[in-house]
């Protein structure tokens, strides 16, 4: 590794809840200024890891630093420099947008509160809603408020836990534009998501399964390294449906998915896959193309991989 400064550098993190080992030997390094996507099935330990990084949970084992501060000993100082956006909306629904932000600003003892709050409201497009009760905002606006609140103190590291769940596509795009702007200003972002288009907008992806990092790299690297082969079939609707039903249980086929008028069939062993496909390639009215897999194909493949089952 080069000596590029790391915003997050943790090794061997473990965390159990009772008999349940949720995080089991997680290593994670995120360079400063990077946007790192945190992916994994439900229950794979993403939230738990984020909580350990900002000192909300104490790891059972493992060590490391966040912004060069020890995650075990310096939790209080880490809190001042990290912005954590919880998965569940956790601001006060009976306070207005402005009051919530004001409360946060006071807890961080920020100078020049008014100006900062105005700026952040502007940036999140919340200026018109500043006097609205947070509980009366729609889901997407709540997320914006949460993001606004966690950047208010100008943190160096953002830990965002599914920040765009339930947000419409346009707002999602704006959200990510904002995240890129923040990153260009030097902020490091670790963001968990289940959306593939969002994963593709990350500099780097970390895929978690069973409380461990199992795949990481840029989106292209992850796709290339998956060794996945994908065939895309088009043609007569009835024949496609028939093919889908027949291919589903066939050996060598790992995933079959209909997308409107096309059928995507993937597997890791080219020969086995081609063998299963052979009768359908010969079928009249259907054409098959060997296409590079998308990130989504790769994730479906990872999610259904029995080795990684939680």
């Amino acid at each position: 590794m080069t000596a590029a400064p790391l915003a997050i550098d943790v090794r061997g993190l473990h965390k159990s809840f009772g008999p349940r080992a949720v995080v089991q030997g997680l290593d994670l390094r995120v360079a400063r200024g990077q946007i790192c996507g945190f992916l994994g099935a439900n229950g794979s330990g993403k939230t738990t890891t984020l909580r350990m990084l900002c000192g909300l949970l104490t790891p059972d084992a493992g060590e490391g630093t966040c912004l060069e501060l020890d995650i075990r000993k310096d939790a209080a100082r880490i809190r001042r420099r990290v912005g954590y956006m919880t998965q569940r909306f956790s601001f006060y629904e009976d306070l207005t947008v402005q009051e919530n932000l004001d409360f946060v600003a006071r807890l961080y003892e920020l100078p020049d509160r008014e100006r900062r709050i105005d700026a952040v409201l502007q940036r999140a497009g919340l200026t018109d809603r500043r006097t609205q009760l947070a509980g009366e905002l729609s889901g997407g606006w709540k997320q914006r408020l949460a993001l606004a609140a966690c950047v208010l103190h100008e943190p160096e590291l953002l830990l965002l836990d599914e920040p765009t769940a339930g947000v419409d596509p346009k707002a999602r795009r704006e959200f990510w534009d904002l995240i890129h702007v923040l990153a260009s200003e030097g902020i490091t972002v670790l963001v968990s998501t289940h959306y593939m288009d969002e994963a593709e907008r990350c500099h780097r992806i970390v895929y978690l399964a069973g409380g461990k990092v199992v795949v990481e790299g840029s989106a292209e690297e992850v796709v290339a390294r998956s060794g996945l082969v994908t065939f895309v079939g088009t043609g007569e609707q009835e024949a496609l449906s028939e093919a889908a039903a027949a291919l589903e249980p066939a050996p060598g086929v790992e995933s079959v998915a209909m997308f409107g008028q096309t059928l995507r069939v993937s597997g890791t062993h080219r020969q086995a896959l081609e063998k299963a496909l052979a009768p359908w390639r010969a079928r009249q009215g259907l054409t098959w193309v060997d296409e590079p897999p998308t990130l989504e194909d790769v994730f479906i493949h990872l999610l259904s991989d029995r080795r990684f089952a939680a």
Partner: protein, 371 residues
Amino acid sequence: MNLSVHRFVAVLQKELIQARRDRFTLALMIGMPLVQLFLFGFAINTDPKHLPTALVMGDDSRPARSLVESMRATEYFDISQPTSPAEAERAMARGDVLFVLEVPVDFARLMERQERPAVLLAADATDPTAVSSAFAAASGVGQGLLARDLPGAAPPARPFDWRVHRRYNPEGITAYNIVPGLIGTLLTFTLVVITALAVTRERERGTMENLLAMPVRPLEVMLGKIVPYIFLGYVQVALILGAAVLVFQVPLRGSVLLLLVGLGLFIAANLAVGFTFSTLARNQLQAMQMAVFFILPSILLSGFMFPFAGMPGWARVLGEMLPLTHALRLIRGILLKGNGALDVLPHLLPLMLFSVVVGTLAIRGYRQTLD
């Protein structure tokens, strides 16, 4: 990270806004003391007459009958036909009568010999307020009337003795005791419940995760959440005291300032309890159950419901550990007996000790992580 007044004020202000928006709770906290006081207050203020009374006649002489007549004349006693002592006893146990009047055997003869017979007036004192004025009326019965009935020599100063029994409630808690008791129990109730919910609510609504992720210290959160309720506690005290003095003419014999200082300690003790529950409970229901678990013994063992002296030793030990016990003594002492600072010191010290010990537990129990 040092304690910060700014962060404390931030939490305080947030709580005030939330309290202001929660109209229902606010109305409840202000309305409840008044409603309770008026309910109890009018119960204590009534001067009930014509109370059912069983009669046991050990003597059918003229003076004996004349005594019964003059009892009737007070209008406090509705005296039925004479029965046996056992039957009278049963009637009281059933609640059919509130009094048993028992004229002893040889009443007239003993009086003539100036041996001062004892006339028994037993009362069902479970509701002491109901019988106290009747007692007062009975003690005035006697002299002139008996003098007329006793032939011969000048009547003795006290021709007979009253033997007064307050059944079921030997301490005979008087009407005025209701107000101190009400101040104490209401403060315990509202303050313990409200603070027990304070942190639990944050946990249940998920806002705790956020609060913990921000740089705020446990003591700042605790003080910020508690201080608004100290004020609210005083508002309750003022409401009850004001109504008690103005509407029900309860005496206020001691120093109001001393009372407020003492109640401050009591309020702190209750808030510490509530906050401790708040850190232990996982959800609001649990917090509520813990609060009830604390409040019930407080009401039962503090001397509010049952006279403290009448309780078995172990119950008294428990009672001594409860803030309400000491608060009751404090309030009664200042309000009714005009106690000064030195007199109430023995009640103040336990309250102080309790607040410090439980307050420390509360801060210790406040988890800075989600573990």
